[in-house]
Subunit: 287 residues, 2 copies
């Protein structure tokens, strides 16, 4: 069994980006839009700012009170779309309830949509065109490549069909770039256990702690665990711990490769955002 | 075994559209752009014009010589994008080799892209947002609904991963609207025969005549045949006949439902284009 070390791969990718940025006259510029005072959002944006500093990007956080109107926010987005200085920007979700997240996502110029959430980027990815691939799917395919995991002709169960993980993973892995035979499983799937147990690769992205058990995994499988559930724990100082969608202790011994939680897919997401921002600055997606 | 009659369902949908158009003050207006003198393209565009007349749409064919430059064609597309009179338009493919089809598709305003080929419409469909769904996938889901075919919890093999059929079908059928457990199969799939033979529904869209044989289909399966291959025949006056991707004679007796070729999916495509044009005229996709 080999552990897929997301921290290591993320650090390597970060170093590559940093080396490339060092040679650029004009540094990539990422802006994060933060509405309100959500604690988790503050933390995420803080991590993103730190990552920008580490790779040599310029970054800025635009903060707005949680009573900003949708029209005011859309006007700010338009300013960012039109600003030649800004290579890419993200609007940190969730937004206050009086603002339509979908309207905000669709207002972002696809050319600056480094989160890859705009329908045009999703469509481009699906069609096999150059696209900003969103952070989690991009992180997963980068890990598969970093560990030289064979995918062509392999069977793959994608468990979960969310727009941000399951669905893009099913489309990416079934494309000619990966050539997996993908089965998309979800809450209405009858024989989920059998499908997983016969699959060479399992992408667990349903968001239920320790759902995938040893009897659902075949000997030698590759298991990518995208779940993060915070549960109480009396064994940690903080009083809580993170669990993945995979019952790691019993599944890991059967795997050829497995991602741990934490330290697997998670660390890849922020560096994936940095990578998209680099692509934006270089104009490599929309020429 | 029940035959899925595409001609009948198409005629019914056409009558519904016609009835709705009859009540509209302003008739939907569809424009077709035709470059060069490709015989098949002429025929398709002719069928589309005829369908427009039948449902009460206005229609127009803009013809250009095959030496039109890409820039000139893009300028025509811009004119159509900007014309308030035009609800939707299509550019008949294929285009001459000196013109990038992808550039042309991306130049069409997604709001008028009634073919549903623009990445933004593909992305919207994938994300479950209102979208123009392209003609063949829309035709197939309309047939499934017209025949009240149960899809929830069913296993479905989509054979073929093309951008125009296989991939959209896999995404649509695995969505909450249909709740199938979909396996996307393609040229690199190892155990295609077993996957098909264990599936409740088979979408055959690989483009190889009579590829799906009786041993690949389980008793009671639903089989949708998207293939159309023209082969020589000494039994027809024309000297040729159309074959689907399914070996109909031996597969049909095992099926609960099956589409014939011709007369199954084919007749649905033009009426699907009419339906998208109606949606465009009503402003129902992009509000």
């Amino acid at each position: 069994m080999k552990l897929i070390d997301g921290n290591k791969t993320a650090a390597e990718l970060k170093e590559q980006i940093k080396a490339e940025v060092a040679l650029m006259d004009r540094k990539p510029f990422l802006v994060a839009v933060l509405v309100g005072n959500d604690g988790a959002s503050e933390t995420y944006v803080g991590h993103k700012e730190k990552a920008c500093r580490e790779v040599g990007f310029r970054s800025e956080v635009l903060r707005f009170a949680d009573d900003i109107t949708q029209d005011e926010l859309l006007a700010e987005i338009k300013r960012l779309n039109d600003s030649p200085a800004v290579d890419g920007f993200i609007v940190q979700l969730p937004l206050p309830k009086h603002i339509s997240e979908q309207s905000v996502i669709e207002a972002i110029d696809p050319k600056k949509d480094v989160d890859g959430f705009h329908p045009e980027n999703v469509g481009r990815m699906i069609l096999g065109l150059p696209a900003y691939i969103s952070a989690t799917p991009y992180g997963i395919i980068t890990l598969l490549k970093a560990y030289n995991i064979e995918t062509a002709g392999k069977s793959c169960a994608v468990v979960g069909r969310s727009n941000i993980v399951g669905r893009p993973m099913a489309n990416l892995l079934s494309s000619k770039d990966f050539d997996c035979t993908v089965t998309i499983c979800h809450s209405r799937t009858h024989n989920l256990k059998e499908i997983c147990a016969s699959s060479d690769i399992i992408i667990a992205a349903l968001g239920r702690a320790e759902f995938v058990t040893a009897d659902m995994v075949k000997e030698g499988a590759v298991v990518i665990d995208v779940g993060i559930t915070r549960v109480e724990s009396d064994k940690t100082k903080s009083g809580w711990k993170l669990l993945g969608d995979v019952k790691f202790d019993e599944v890991a011994p059967k795997c050829s490769y497995i991602t741990p939680v934490p330290g697997g897919v998670g660390p890849m997401t922020i560096v994936s955002l940095m990578y998209n921002t680099l692509l934006a600055a270089k104009g490599e997606i929309y020429k």
